[in-house]
Symmetry: C2
Subunit: 253 residues, 2 copies
């Protein structure tokens, strides 16, 4: 039995939910409501000491970190492979998994600034409550980013611009790769695409608004539309029972 | 034919040289002399646009990023496996590969402060030459770290302490894992150990001097001694023809 603890439409939760759906794997969905600080609850921290979503539990094996979870899913369920068989292309896929990890890190300040449910819940606290919540962050870099967003007026323009420059570098790499093949890691749809699509959507909407267009990055924009049109991407990225606070739900592929 | 472009005894070069030696794979060694800025030479940047070492070239396939290179070596040369067969243990191994990537990032400021060959070469330049060299850094975060080290007196105490705290968190994780099994990812020596050993040595010598001892982290210290005693680790970590500026050398396993 597979159980997925996730935060619905957060980018890293989308990555893993999409991987499971593309491979046709049924799972029990546990929505972790970060606006109610459920990711810092001791029961959840026992599974994921970093207090991050998602976490996969498969027959008692606990796996954390979305890129590592998706490799685990490939290792445990080799049917409908999403990793290229060729070692060189597989290495290139892993370079894209790493870009997706970097994208998650660089977009965090933007997410906090735009006010996701978690940030808004923190903004509703008085100073003592906020201090107590900040104490509960297991990862000091997350705690520092949240403290900066809520107590010091957010990331500086220089920091945001440096993150935007990295996002531009990633999209530029996509543009180069897509000149050679229809998918990021070659001729086949792979974890490179699965891991990046939610982040490119985030780049378009929040990090590079107006700068990621059919004119600026034509190949990546075409790829983006093509991937977003896939039935399983539509399903994973839609508002649904699975992406709202609910009791655990069985999700059939 | 395998060719490895590396900087000898840099931590990430050690990771890949050790992996090749443990698997008994012959390779042609190309020493990239960073003190002569060879990693920023256009010929090298054509292989590795990030201007980082190491880079592996195998029958025309170019692979960058040391953790990704070591996974590539496993994919291309499955004999003498250094990845656990069990998917859960393999995921845990990948968590350690990620810690090794994080260790490389957090230790860079300490390396620059201690004055490696590259930093010393930069310190020997006049202001105009230094500015020109800084312009050549492909990765803005590396350029910023070097500029800070050379022009602004180095990383702040707060930044160094935050890096030390992450190093402590990594060693604490090792201590927990080694309570359960003799190696970082379980019962067998794996890429978890191969990827971490040079970084733990760096922690001992530069990042946590006096804080990583048999008293503070007994299991990790015992593991450290045990891994450092392996013949291939001694060979990979020793000063040798391969780790000094020389013409390409054939290295037999």
């Amino acid at each position: 039995m597979i159980e997925l603890y996730h935060a619905g439409l957060s980018t890293c939760s989308k990555k893993v939910r999409l991987c499971l759906k593309e491979k046709g794997i049924d799972y029990v969905s546990h929505y972790v409501d970060t606006s109610r600080f459920e990711h810092h609850h001791p029961d959840y921290l026992a599974l994921n000491p970093n207090g991050l979503v998602p976490t996969l539990v498969h027959n008692g094996v606990v796996v954390i970190e979305s890129s590592i979870i998706n490799e685990y899913i490939e290792d445990a369920f080799p049917e409908t492979p999403l990793r290229p068989a060729d070692p060189g292309k597989r290495a290139h896929m892993r370079l894209w998994s790493r870009f997706s990890d970097e994208a998650a890190t660089l977009s965090y300040a933007f997410t906090l600034a735009s006010g996701n449910g978690f940030a808004n819940a923190l903004r509703g606290l008085d100073e003592a409550e906020l201090e107590a919540r900040l104490e509960q962050f297991p990862l000091p870099e997350r705690r520092a980013a949240v403290a900066k967003a809520l107590l010091e007026g957010g990331a500086s323009d220089a920091e945001l611009e440096s993150s935007r420059a990295r996002a531009v570098a990633i999209v530029t790499q996509a543009e180069q790769d897509l000149a050679k093949a229809p998918y990021l890691a070659g001729d086949d749809y792979s974890l490179a695409d699965v891991n990046m699509i939610a982040h490119i959507e985030r780049f378009r909407d929040r990090i590079l608004p107006g700068r990621f267009t059919p004119q600026t990055y034509p190949r990546t924009f075409e790829w983006f539309g093509r991937i977003m049109d896939r039935p399983k991407v539509k399903e994973a990225f839609a508002n649904s029972a699975e992406t709202r606070p609910t009791p655990p739900t069985s999700v059939s592929a």
